[in-house]
Symmetry: C2
Subunit: 212 residues, 2 copies
Amino acid sequence: MTAPSDARARGTRLPRVRRRRQLLAAAQEVFVARGYHAAAMDEIADRAGVSKPVLYQHFPGKLELYLALLEEHSEVLVEKQREALESTDDNRQRVIASFRAYFDFVAGDGEAFRLVFESDLRNLPAVREKSEETFQRCAELIGAVIRQDTSISDEEAHLLSIGLVGMAETSARYWLNNHGSVPKDAAEQLVARLAWRGISGWDLQRAAGEQD
Amino acid sequence: MTAPSDARARGTRLPRVRRRRQLLAAAQEVFVARGYHAAAMDEIADRAGVSKPVLYQHFPGKLELYLALLEEHSEVLVEKQREALESTDDNRQRVIASFRAYFDFVAGDGEAFRLVFESDLRNLPAVREKSEETFQRCAELIGAVIRQDTSISDEEAHLLSIGLVGMAETSARYWLNNHGSVPKDAAEQLVARLAWRGISGWDLQRAAGEQD
DNA sequence: CCCTCATCTTACTCCGGCGTAGGTTCCCCC
DNA sequence: GGGGGAACCTACGCCGGAGTAAGATGAGGG
């Protein structure tokens, strides 16, 4: 499926930085396809058309290689999220843009989102912290918007943001796994509407007595 | 933390079924604390106050042991969810009960929820399928209720359900990791309100022209 | 009292996979 | 054109952990 990049002629020499980039790409493919534990350094080297020691001349170990990728893609997600929220002043549009950002992230870059959302190494503190930090940063961006327009407490706003981010992540992943059943635009809009209905006018309802 | 069950006197013999139950309990503790990969069969046996071959007289291998636990707790979650939705005919109360079920599940039984929600073995097809099946079954229960009261299409209702389940799971997990910041009741109610606002009266809005 | 069978133990084998020692080839610059 | 250094290779050490033989122990029936 999707012709695996360049298992190059196993004979071409490359300048250091170029090789490093290629190794990262190869590692991403393997980590995404197999997960951390089932990924073998041999396979990563093979896929890059190179032998194992070369890999170790660029990265001190398997873990560091993995962390480099995790770091990179976590940053991408947060950045996409920030851009989405800064793209407009209309909160309804913000919600839509925010969800689109999640769907874009999940749809993009060789399924790299699996490193961030589905890592099989979350039991390692370093990885757990990075994952949670990414999650929290996304939630915090959204929480700031919520707080801006409601009188809700900080902690409650944060919990709501967490829920919304979870909804975005989950529905985006589900949508990807079931491509074809719903087009991307429609899925984004649908879930965004659910979220927007949920938060818009929060204060008004509360003041009115918390009914229906 | 919470005195680790019974690392028994390592000398007491037990009838077969009793031993089996105890082994499952020990395995759960270790799998939950360490994840599948970092969990050692030696440690599981130790924790049960028994030697490794005994473990293999009850379960053919590490994987089967793990699957037995996964299966068991997946079933618990779905059952809790079903009960919650059957507990009332008022949809607003249904939403609240449904979220409470998630929070209860996450709060209960030695954090066994980590096996279902945070397995580090999802790259194995058998595990992936079980996890997704559980998720889908929860979503389907909710989807049925949504379809009952709206004219929304089946596929769209399902996607919304997925989003809601993701929100429940995510917020429940977050709440557990940050105990003390918000009491359980308040957290449940808050997130449930978000969800209820999101879905209630969906058709009315749609008919009115999809504004705000 | 002793035989039998189920329960349990010690002490291994085996294998996959990370990481490395030591030697080789090719390019570039003087 | 040859010396030097960077890029690369083959081949191995080694360790953790799953799973397994082969023997010890204790409880109940004859």
